[in-house]
């Protein structure tokens, strides 16, 4: 399994033909947690939206499980084994937690109940809430549901966008290790966008730093942690001067 799950080469992505992300090349291997870091407006979310097909790439190639996704509709890309936990969580507020999970499940009856159990094992806090409407959950519970729903489809590649958005730091501290566990237990690759740099690098294997749509740093989590000053510079734009 030396082949990368996700391999992006020279990607240009953006809105209305105007590239926000330029010449980006990243890859994610099985069982690996990769952090995509960078300041606001760096193009992190744009990158994830392009990977899952909600945005069409302007140039460059995205390979998922060894084959290109160019021109595929997002629902088809998703069925190939990609789960995307979106920034807005994209929950179905009118449906119950159980129904939300059910929509994520794939396969036959047996595998479906198994993968639902697995997802709930990761987030046991959801068990007592199964019959509650998703719209009534707290922010943390909603995020857990979004993650659990993504997991329920047994993805080979998981994209997590700003899991910590609007959550209390203590919840973030508890949720991030679960991402690590997902990668370790299921062998899936995880690409996560995160603003809590320290926490993210604590669980990630590797990291990429984007600034103004371009890759400014990459390396193992350890290397990035050691290069704290450079990292700060790319956030605050100090390096540009």
């Amino acid at each position: 399994m030396s082949e990368s799950l996700l391999k992006i080469t020279n990607l240009n992505a953006g809105y209305g033909g105007i590239a926000v992300v330029r010449d980006l090349s990243i890859h994610v291997n099985p069982g690996e947690v990769v952090a995509l870091l960078g300041p606001n407006g760096a193009g992190k979310t744009t990158t994830l939206l392009t990977i899952s097909g909600l945005l069409k790439p302007i140039a460059g190639d995205i390979q998922l499980l060894g084959s290109s996704t160019t021109g595929d509709r997002p629902e088809k890309i998703s069925r190939r084994g990609l789960a995307h936990v979106a920034e807005d969580r994209s929950l179905f507020f009118d449906l119950t937690v159980q129904e939300n999970l059910r929509l994520g499940l794939t396969g036959n009856r047996e595998t479906r109940s198994k993968s639902q159990e697995n997802a709930l094992d990761m987030f046991p806090a959801l068990r007592p809430l199964l019959s509650r409407r998703a719209g009534l959950l707290s922010g943390g519970e909603q995020q857990m549901l979004a993650m659990a729903r993504g997991l329920a489809s047994e993805p080979k590649m998981l994209l997590v966008d700003e899991m910590s958005l609007g959550l209390a730091p203590i919840i973030v501290e508890r949720m991030l290790p679960i991402v690590r566990r997902i990668a370790d237990d299921t062998g899936a690759g995880v690409l996560m966008v995160e603003q809590h740099v320290g926490l993210a690098l604590a669980v990630a294997d590797r990291g990429y730093v984007l600034a103004h749509g371009e890759l400014t740093m990459e390396g193992s989590a350890q290397q990035l942690r050691d290069n704290q000053s450079l990292l700060e510079a790319s956030y605050l734009g100090g390096e540009a001067h």
Partner: protein, 770 residues
């Protein structure tokens, strides 16, 4: 009271019909966020299809052969059994198959391309489908009004039902039962099946559904098929419950059904079924039992039955104050930009005299010889339709309120003006004449328009709390109940037996400028001048509104009511202002229309007339003044239609069909309407006439010359073999040039759109640069 209960139970037949329709409407809303005004039309088509299959064994495809030639014919009618009735079950299958074809076609051809359109675009799409089906329906099935046989327990009457003393037909009860069963099945699908769950999920958050691997298009297709299937079921099962079939009548039954769907908030199936049953039952209870009681006021008698859905809908939406579930679409396009009007004075200075010249005609000249005849009539019709269109531009284009009640306001103004102007009561020569105050026309007109404005303001009250498509539903219900309540109510109008008010030609300092009669299709150039001046005046008022601070407030409210409010815009005041002025404009148009006709009667102000007026205004371009005027030109009986009729007399019956297709295409391809295609032309045309220089003409002519020559040649020799009319071949040259220029224009537009395709909102951007 026992009798009353019996009538309420009888009403369950209609109720079951409404409930079945309501389920279909809710399904379509869940599936693609469309309030499907065409649902009744689908049921209508299938009902006729079934009836014809059962009576003469013919199957009719829901389309026409559009090319009037002897070759290249599309099959339209299939005779399956040499005029013999066809087997019942085969007829059922074929009818349901028709419904499914319609559902799939509506999905693929209309609402899939409109998936991310602005709400008004979807409303127009639905109205377009309805208009199309109505047109095809009346073309195929004509004015025939067959009485279908009962399907469920025909001819079985339960005498003295439940000891209430009256007989109730088993068919009515069975229809109610079917609606409950169908509701239960659909409810079960949405609750437990995966595709049902996914539909509900996508309705709430489309992005989420896509990310989980569900295709919104496929979900929408499933729901359209289900909805169309139910509409087909309604068409087959209606039997004797709704009486004789009629294309318009059947389509109009959508309103009470919408009431039922709204009771279910467009999302709950059980409540929608309950609502449909309730409305049907209340209608018969009030319309047959309560209105027969001694205390019931006679003036209420006519409108009581048709007002029930309105009362229920308004009470529900207004009192509950909860909005319908909004779809969480990935992207939703906004209405096209409302262009900033410029050089209004110049426009008026050029087009008013030009119009007058046209209408006065050049004596003996071959080109304009016809203008005193039918062209004059067509011109005034277009001008009046343009005035009416301006009220849509203000209300829907600028403020984003989709109101379908404008036609009734026009009618109110016309009726009151007519009543106030008239003098003598019934006489030997006209036993139906209605007497009045004999006021001079300006006073009567002002009074009539003022009352229309007040009514418009009252109807604006719901708009403070009800938005978007819900307002459309309320206003269409208001329009239908105003029709039976006022226009068609002899107790209020004193018009006996469908007669009309006669209007004396208005005078100006002794000069009679009234229209010279609709019978001979001639028109008075002075009346054309009057219409031109009024239209110009209304346009100037609207342009100034748009340019001033009110215009900015209008657009702010259209864009986002909350944001507008937080920026200090008084939303309620702004809406009232818009509704008031738009009502006054509609009123003026109504009075002008009555002047033109020389009389006015109820059918002029039917809601269907209003729908087609909105549709033509949208075709012209609902966000600009030019659009309204252009819409007037292409409206029924206007310049373009008369031109077409002139060349192919049978064309008239095709207008709804092409109108419907045009609406759908405009909504999909070019939401800014045809006006933006002609905008550059219009913009330069005025200036050119004043400062035309040979050089500029030369440049344009050189660029267009190949098209002019090519089109002319094609027209001279190419069109001829395709024709079935008998008109002069010279006209074909002009027609050929026009067609070629039109196609060129579209190609240019599409190319420009493609070049700007990457940009998110191409249409509005073009508008800016145009």
């Amino acid at each position: 009271m026992k009798e009353g209960i019996a009538y309420a139970i009888m009403g369950l037949g209609y109720g079951g019909f409404y409930a079945l329709m309501a389920i279909g409407i809710v399904i379509a809303y869940k599936g693609s966020g469309v309030i499907n005004f065409a649902h009744g039309a689908i049921a209508m088509y299938v009902a006729f299809q079934f009836s014809y299959l059962r009576s003469e064994g013919t199957f009719r495809f829901p389309w026409l052969d559009p090319i009037p030639t002897s070759f290249l014919n599309l099959p339209v009618t299939l005779s399956l059994s040499n005029g013999e009735p066809i087997n019942f079950w085969i007829a059922v299958l074929l009818s349901l198959f028709t419904a499914l074809i319609l559902g799939a076609a509506i999905h693929y051809l209309v609402f899939k391309p409109l998936r991310n359109a602005a709400p008004l675009g979807k409303v127009i799409g639905a109205i377009g489908v309805m208009t199309y089906l109505l047109g095809v329906g009346s073309k195929h099935f004509g004015s025939n009004q067959p009485q279908p046989d009962g399907v469920l327990f025909p001819d079985k009457l339960l005498k003295n039902f439940l000891g209430l003393g009256l007989g109730v037909s088993a068919e009515a009860l069975a229809l109610a039962g079917v609606s409950i069963i169908a509701g239960a099945v659909v409810w079960f699908i949405y609750k437990y099946s995966r595709i049902g769950l996914a539909t509900r999920a996508a309705a709430g958050n489309e992005k989420g559904a896509v990310l989980l691997g569900y295709s919104p298009d496929r979900l929408a297709l499933f729901n359209w098929l289900l909805a169309a299937f139910l509409a087909g079921l309604v068409g087959i099962l209606t039997g004797t419950v709704t009486g004789a079939l009629g294309t318009g009548k059947f389509t109009g039954l959508i309103v009470p059904a919408l009431g039922g769907a709204l009771i279910g908030s467009m999302s709950s199936i059980p409540l929608a079924v309950l609502g449909g049953l309730l409305i049907g039952s209340l209608q018969t209870f009030v319309g047959t039992y309560v209105s027969g009681l001694s205390w019931f006021p006679a003036w209420l008698y006519s409108g009581a039955r048709d007002s029930i859905p309105l009362v229920v809908i308004v009470a529900l939406l207004f009192l509950r104050g909860k909005s319908l579930p909004i779809r969480g679409n990935i992207e939703e396009k906004r209405l096209p930009l409302a262009p900033y009007p410029k050089r209004i004075g110049k426009y008026v200075a050029i087009f008013v005299p030009l119009g007058f010249l046209l209408s006065a005609g050049f004596p003996g000249d071959f080109l304009f010889a016809g203008l005193n005849g039918r062209w004059g009539m067509a011109l005034t019709t277009s001008l009046i339709a343009g005035m009416f269109g301006l009220s849509f531009v203000l209300l829907s284009g600028y403020v984003g309120q989709i109101s379908l009640v404008q036609i009734s306001l026009a009618g109110i103004a016309a009726f009151l003006t007519a009543r106030l102007m008239s003098h003598y009561g019934p006489s030997d020569s006209n036993p139906f004449a209605v007497g009045g105050l004999h006021l001079p026309w300006p006073v009567a007109m002002v009074a009539g328009v003022a009352v229309a404005t007040v009514v418009g303001l009252i109807l604006a009250v719901p708009a403070l709390r009800i938005r978007g498509v819900q307002l459309t539903v309320v206003t269409i219900a208001a329009s239908i109940s105003l029709y039976s309540f006022y226009f068609d109510n002899p107790k209020l109008t004193s018009l006996q037996g469908g007669s009309s008010y006669i209007i004396q030609p208005p005078t100006f300092f002794g000069i009679k400028f009234g229209s010279t009669g609709s019978q001979g299709l001639t028109d008075n150039p002075k009346f054309a001048l009057f219409c031109l001046i009024v239209l110009a005046g209304l346009s100037v008022i609207l342009a100034n509104l748009r340019r001033g601070s009110s215009g900015r407030r209008f657009l702010a409210v259209r864009a986002n009511e909350r944001a507008a409010a937080s920026a200090g815009v008084n939303v309620a005041k702004t809406k009232f202002l818009a509704f008031g002025i738009a009502s006054a404009m509609a009123g003026v148009a109504g009075v002008a229309g009555a002047f033109q006709a020389g009389s006015t009667s109820a059918p002029m102000w039917d809601y269907g007339v209003g729908l087609s007026a909105l549709a033509f205004c949208y075709l012209g371009g609902i966000t600009s003044i030019n659009g309204a005027i252009l819409g007037g030109m292409i409206a029924g009986g206007g310049m373009v239609a008369t031109f077409g009729n002139f060349h192919s007399p049978g064309l008239y019956s095709y207008i709804p069909i092409f109108g419907g297709m045009g609406m759908i295409l405009t909504a999909i391809i070019h939401p800014a309407g045809q006006a933006s295609i002609f905008q550059p032309l219009m913009r330069h045309f005025g200036s050119w006439l004043l400062t035309a220089r040979g050089k500029e003409w030369g440049v344009v002519l050189r660029r267009l010359a190949p098209y002019l020559i090519g089109g002319g040649i094609w027209g001279a020799i190419g069109i001829n073999p395709w024709r079935t009319d008998t008109y002069n071949r010279t006209w074909m040259i002009i027609l050929g040039i026009l067609i070629v220029l039109f196609v060129r224009n579209i190609v240019v537009q599409v190319k420009a759109a493609k070049a700007a395709n990457a940009l998110p909102d191409t249409n509005s951007l073009q508008e800016v640069t145009a």
